[in-house]
């Protein structure tokens, strides 16, 4: 899903100064004002689209081109809504930094274009690799998720070289993951647990077993619709009745647990919410 690789050669980091007001750093997916007082991180696909637009200033680029550059080139398929959401977020970030602007213009039914009246200056900074220099190095980003790993990987080799830690950390990780999965899987009432709320009260003359909710009280005999002598089982083997002493509403479920728990039901009394 995520792949990170260190650059072995010194890299050129290109920062774009847009209209003398905003710095755009495509490596760390950030937009910042020139004084570096405010920095906004944008999604990697939005970065790729913006970079492509900047590189083709004045040229109208279609949604299709931009979706290819932003997502499809990296094996992702997204809807036009996702594309427009990313462009919208990009515009919002630019507005937050420099207020109302028309840097990215929409040309109806054609696509997007970077306003040709704005200035775009490219500045280059050299970044050295970790092998040559202990200073921060460039981590090539393949997906947006890899960014979160960067600070940890940069911090160096203390833990990595301690081979004794490896099995321990792996074991603890596995235990935590298993506990989390177990907890998630058992957080819901299952059908069997729910069925345990019913007790067997009678066998209908028609052949099915009748169950009623354990806290129902003695309501079975009072209800002619669920009288064991007259109840029509309709070919089902189990009938579950739910009724409460003080409610007019009740339901009767006719089920065949042996056939994939197929059930039909009768629901009596309606409350309008």
């Amino acid at each position: 899903m995520t792949s990170c690789q260190y650059e072995s050669e010194p890299q050129q980091l290109e920062i774009y100064l847009i209209d003398g007001k905003v710095n755009f750093n495509p490596i760390d997916n950030t937009l910042s004002d020139v004084n570096n007082l405010k920095k906004i991180t944008i999604y990697a696909p939005a970065t790729r689209c913006f970079l492509h637009l900047l590189e083709h200033q004045g040229e109208i680029l279609s949604q299709r081109d931009l979706m290819y550059v932003g997502w499809e080139k990296y094996g992702m398929t997204v809807s036009p809504n996702t594309f427009y959401q990313n462009i919208s977020n990009l515009r919002k970030a630019l507005s937050e930094l420099i207020g109302d602007n028309d840097i990215i213009m929409t040309i109806k039914r054609s696509g997007l274009v970077i306003n040709s009246t704005i200035t775009i200056e490219k500045t280059e900074q050299q970044i050295l690799s970790v092998e040559n220099d202990p200073s921060p190095h460039v981590l090539r980003e393949e997906t947006v998720f890899s960014r979160s790993l960067t600070p940890h990987l940069n911090k160096g080799s203390g833990i990595l070289t301690n081979k004794m830690m490896l099995p321990l950390v792996t074991m603890i990780t596995l235990i935590i993951i298993l506990v989390a999965i177990f907890y998630a899987c058992h957080s819901y009432v299952t059908e069997d647990e729910y069925a345990a709320k019913y007790k067997h009260v009678a066998d209908a003359a028609d052949g099915c077993e009748i169950f009623i909710n354990r806290d129902a009280g003695n309501v079975l005999g009072d209800n002619p619709l669920i009288n064991p002598k007259t109840l029509n089982c309709r070919g089902f083997s189990k009938v579950y009745v739910t009724q409460w002493d003080k409610q007019n509403r009740f339901s009767v479920f006719f089920c065949n647990p042996e056939h994939d728990m197929y059930c039909i039901s009768e629901y009596y009394g309606v409350e309008h919410q």
Partner: protein, 152 residues
């Protein structure tokens, strides 16, 4: 390695909690059919309903006759688009769009007397506790099971 382990643990715990918080209906696309008959005030309507749940939204269709005793009053034929709003112990379905389909012919007053508002009015909600099983979902309304929706 340690960083990855920490991240994996946090991710597992987060996924566990988010999975737990999400209702069964919210986790993925889910489609099911149900048959249940509603009875009220001498009226009855045998409902055959198709539900489609897709994370936070859903749609249901039905095309069923409405009876008063043994007399058939007409058909109730609607498509309801709804939102799925999870709460701690129940899931609220809120109708956001109701489309009366071609066959709909039952008198509105009688429909109003028998069907919960959610099934024919826009902006109406109904709360369900939902029990998941391998083959479907049991919908319980106000402590009384209403229908079992069998997965396609």
């Amino acid at each position: 390695m340690a960083a990855c382990a920490v991240i994996s643990c946090i991710a597992a715990i987060y996924i566990s909690f988010s999975y737990q918080e999400k209702s069964v209906l919210e986790r993925a696309y889910y489609s099911c059919n149900t048959e249940f008959t509603i009875h009220n005030a001498g009226l009855s309507i045998p409902m055959v309903v198709t539900f489609q749940f897709d994370k936070h939204t859903g749609v249901l269709f039905y095309d069923n006759p409405l009876y008063k005793g043994k007399e058939r009053l007409g058909m109730v034929n609607n498509k309801i688009e709804f939102l799925i709003q999870p709460n701690k112990d129940f899931v609220r379905l809120l109708s956001v769009n109701v489309t009366k389909m071609a066959k709909d012919s039952a008198p509105v007053d009688e429909v109003n007397r028998i069907l919960p508002d959610f099934f024919f009015k826009k902006g109406a909600a109904i709360d369900f506790e939902v029990i998941n099983s391998k083959v479907g979902l049991l919908f319980i309304h106000d402590s009384v099971p209403m229908f079992f929706c069998q997965r396609h």
